[in-house]
């Protein structure tokens, strides 16, 4: 985020990794039925309770049915590319939103923090889903309250499924970006945009049987989108994001200007693009 000091950023990154490590331990410790789809409701409830306590320690969680709506196909057509839509239902000002895939190896898939230039109305992303699981969306309002909603989806193998036959080809255009405006540009009016980034988002779980080695994890860790220097969103993401991530978000352009997107991956590569608005496909 533009206003963060390096020390604050380092602290935040450390904190996130501690959460990730904690979650990994937690998931490993939780009981798993032989067939994930046969897991009982009680197990799912227990898993979510443990997860929410690890991610939001000591914080109350309220029913989010009136604040946020979560949509995903009940049965995934492609477990490595499950489209998820988050709609924010009220004028309750939402500061950030978390997407948690309870049964994934790394459950916290995404955390979006909205900036002053955001239009917090609708958000779309694509994720990998490894087993029959609940998805949870948690909206954090400006007053610090947490609202959650859940959806059960049937999918399997999205994390371990081979991304493609050719790792080298998958990295060929890494970092290439496109931005599409999904409506007419009117100064001062909210506008939806679709951001596409070429990145294999290797999650470290895909094994090459020839070498018996796993393709090393390499995935997008953060994305910052700013408009004319003001923050639209900051995303902390993880291995659950699909390859070639596509994110649809809203922003409010007061004037013609520049959308700047900075993505950083786990190999410390930084990808930086600026798009003229409404020039880019508007």
């Amino acid at each position: 985020m533009g206003t963060m000091t390096n020390r604050a950023r380092a602290h935040r990154v450390r904190a996130l990794w501690m959460i990730a490590a904690l979650l990994a331990l937690l998931v490993a410790a939780l009981p798993r039925a032989a067939g994930a789809q046969e897991e009982s409701d009680a197990t799912r409830v227990a898993r979510w309770k443990a997860l929410s306590q690890a991610i939001f320690p000591g914080r109350a969680m309220q029913d989010g049915g009136a604040v946020i709506q979560l949509d995903a196909p009940p049965r995934a057509l492609d477990a490595a590319l499950v489209p998820v839509t988050l709609d924010f239902l009220t004028n309750q000002p939402v500061k950030s939103v978390y997407l948690i895939i309870d049964d994934n190896p790394s459950p916290l898939a995404a955390h979006f923090t909205f900036g002053p230039k955001a239009d917090v109305h609708s958000l779309k992303l694509r994720v990998r889903v490894d087993a029959y699981t609940n998805l949870h969306a948690v909206a954090e309002t400006r007053d610090g309250k947490l609202y959650t909603t859940a959806k059960f989806i049937k999918a399997s193998g999205g994390c371990s499924a081979p991304a493609g036959p050719d790792d080298a080809a998958a990295l060929k255009d890494v970092g290439l970006m496109k931005l599409r405006l999904l409506g007419p540009f009117t100064p001062g009016k909210p506008l939806q945009a679709q951001l596409m980034i070429r990145h294999p988002n290797f999650n470290g779980m895909q094994m090459n049987q020839l070498t018996r080695l796993y393709t090393p994890a390499r995935f997008i860790r953060t994305i910052d989108a700013t408009y004319d220097g003001g923050n639209v969103f900051h995303l902390d993401s993880d291995i659950s994001l699909s390859s070639d991530p596509v994110i649809t978000f809203g922003f409010v352009p007061q004037h013609q200007g520049q959308m700047t997107v900075v993505a950083r991956d786990s190999s410390n590569a930084t990808f930086n693009h600026s798009f003229a608005i409404p020039g880019a496909g508007g």
């Binding site: 057509l77 590319l81 839509t85 694509r126 081979p162 036959p165 409506g183 049987q209 020839l210 596509v246």
Partner: protein, 282 residues
Amino acid sequence: MVQEIAPGIFARRGVDEDATAANDDAIANIGFVVGRDAVAVIDPGGSLQDGQRLRASILKATRAPIRYVVMTHVHPDHIFGAGAFQQDRPEFIGHQKLPQALAVRGDYYRKRLEEILGAGRAGPIVAPTRLVQAQDRLDLGGGKLLQLQAHALAHSDCDLSAFEQQTGTLFTGDLLFVQRIPSLDGSLKGWLTELNSLKSVAARRAIPGHGPVSVKWPAASLDLERYLNGLLRETRAAIKKGIDIDAAVGSVGQSERGRWSLFDAYQGHNVTQAYKELEWEQ
């Protein structure tokens, strides 16, 4: 049941179902060509048992040795029967990209298939011992001559077709689907290109990867061509209109419903694949 569809050309129709423990994954069309000196298997089957049954049919039909096992691509329903033929010490023949595809996906496919069929019933992963870079020829004796053609990215990334000259029979592998909905795992645009070049092969009949085992060539490619062209046109139109992937899977290609078996099981998957490929155009 294996049928002799032309002198020395045998084929077994796969059932238009997904793999189940009851059907032994015998869902693809498989067959063999009998020459004076040798037999070539063209696709060994979807499981060890499927391969063993095919081998028993060969032993009934001829005393000629099984010298070649051609694997038309990496998909499990076509090649997991290969283990049944290892005792014959044939050359296992595949596209130059088959070893890499097997390395990346083979074990994943085998595990998934064992989940369906039961432990030990999938069959081993058999790597090709002879690779086709562009073209190759197999002389089976007595005028039976197979011309093998390696294709560019199409249905999959390792499609191989085989043309038997004496009888004018084209084994298309999964470059041709008849009646059963095609499944896209390579490139939509590439498949249309390869299908177009395959149409110039002067064959009397084709044995498709799925569907009736003997069809007129190239007339039998018209349905597939219409399907793929429609998928291309309608997916492009959806992307251009800003229709997102989750909405596109429910709207693209719906005029094809009723023309293909298993439409609802695969249409959404095909649209997802097409969308992923086409959204990066321009």
